[in-house]
Symmetry: C2
Subunit: 105 residues, 2 copies
């Protein structure tokens, strides 16, 4: 287990895909933010605005990153990065717990 200290959390969840994907926003003292989320099994496509670092804390997923033609397995404990203003596909095989960091430099 790990934790974020001295943060603000928005109480209300963000809900996507009829609730199959949900997340909550955590804001840090410097104004940067992350989301902590859950993805139920399924296939999804997400668009990014800011660049993102997606850390998979639990679950089995495969991702199709922009410009790639092959799906890549991301094991729990590993991360993948997505550029700003792009799209990526994700196949969630088992319920996934993730931490998404937004790079808004």
């Amino acid at each position: 287990m790990s934790e974020f200290n001295n943060v603000t959390i928005v109480r209300e969840a963000n809900v996507y895909f009829d609730g199959a994907v949900t997340s909550r926003k955590v804001v840090f003292a410097d104004g940067s933010y992350k989301t902590l989320g859950i993805m139920m099994p399924g296939d999804y496509e997400f668009g990014t605005e800011a660049a993102e670092i997606m850390e998979m804390m639990a679950g089995e997923v495969e991702v199709l990153l922009p410009g790639e033609t092959e799906w890549k397995a991301i094991p729990a404990g590993e991360s993948f990065e997505v550029p700003a203003n792009s799209k990526f596909g994700i196949k969630v095989k088992t319920i996934a717990d993730y931490c998404c960091t937004y790079i808004t430099e």
Copy 2:
């Protein structure tokens, strides 16, 4: 939207019922804590240790509280209380976003 400030959040989710119910723990400066959670549609039974105040931020649910024989609808924006060391039933009709406060006096 509302938020909790100057809190600690545990990154990893708590996962129940194969992920149909998930929550994250938020710890306050005084050591008290709450969980922010999502319940997908379904019927669940939960046991309590501490007494709980369950605030439904979104979703349609009905609850069967200890000692009651009739299910009671809890609209979004309302709360229900559950005594310590008891059980309650909940029927989730539409995805529910909740905030659970634990009373550990």
